[in-house]
Symmetry: C2
Subunit: 160 residues, 2 copies
């Protein structure tokens, strides 16, 4: 199958299949989600996630560094997303009164409205692409495995 890998077989065939499927999912799934959201709502999958996370927070407000962490974002990336959001009046930024180094971001009513109106199509897409193809047992197993991998990857990015 894979010539280089045959010469130095670090991954067996079963691992190869899993790896290929995972590669397709990490490359093609965001692309599919981005396309749908861009077309319907003019935002990316990542931006949707930021809006969703903020909307879940108490008072719809979070420190940027916390938001970056839960969104698996670097700080510069989130900073620029916030620039765009602020320009559209979807979020407001203000210094944390308790510690001037932090910045608090709050979802505005306009921002929440944007999220609510783009949610149905997006959630439907997620269900169609991720949940519908699986049985209930497969979903459970998938959740277990992905949670473990996610934790490992998070440690990697924070530590490295």
């Amino acid at each position: 199958m894979m010539k280089v890998m045959d010469a130095q077989p670090w991954l067996d065939d079963e691992q190869q299949d899993l790896w290929q499927a995972l590669l397709t999912v990490v490359i093609a799934l965001p692309a599919a989600l981005d396309r749908q959201l861009q077309r319907e709502a003019g935002i990316s999958n990542f931006e949707y996630g930021v809006l969703a996370r903020l909307s879940m927070a108490d008072e719809a407000t979070m420190r940027l560094s916390d938001l970056a962490r839960v969104c698996d974002s670097t700080q510069p990336r989130l900073s620029k997303v916030m620039d765009r959001f602020e320009a559209r009046d979807w979020v407001a930024r203000r210094p944390d009164p308790g510690d001037g180094r932090y910045t608090l971001a709050t979802l505005t009513d306009t921002g929440r409205q944007k999220l609510v109106e783009s949610a149905p199509e997006h959630v439907a897409q997620v269900k169609r692409l991720v949940f519908d193809p699986l049985t209930a047992a497969q979903r459970r197993h998938l959740g277990t495995a992905l949670t473990r991998i996610a934790a490992t990857v998070r440690r990697e990015l924070e530590g490295g």
Copy 2:
């Protein structure tokens, strides 16, 4: 008039957890792989995949359109990757003698050498982040679920 939430119910708690884990994996895993490969080999995870796929092909040669499909790439994206690879003499492009519309890409010896020398670290990283956290049974289940999702996403991107 039906309410939005009735038409498109939100995800339940179990689905939320799965979805969050998948989001983290889809966003953070490529980032972690890119960082390692960029640092060690000066290429991206996607570029590594292209080299690997080409190396597996018969005569290390493929039509660009076929290569794009198996790499889950758009044609412009692959076209630009090939520009970079050709500039470094990792691949050679030539028109398909059987049909002048196609372009054949062949991995050069230099290109294969680049792949072989960057493979060990990369594979080790993949094992560490994806395989090591899982039991054998979990790997099997993960492979099954991801394969189903991957097929669905592929259909989505080709059809839509």
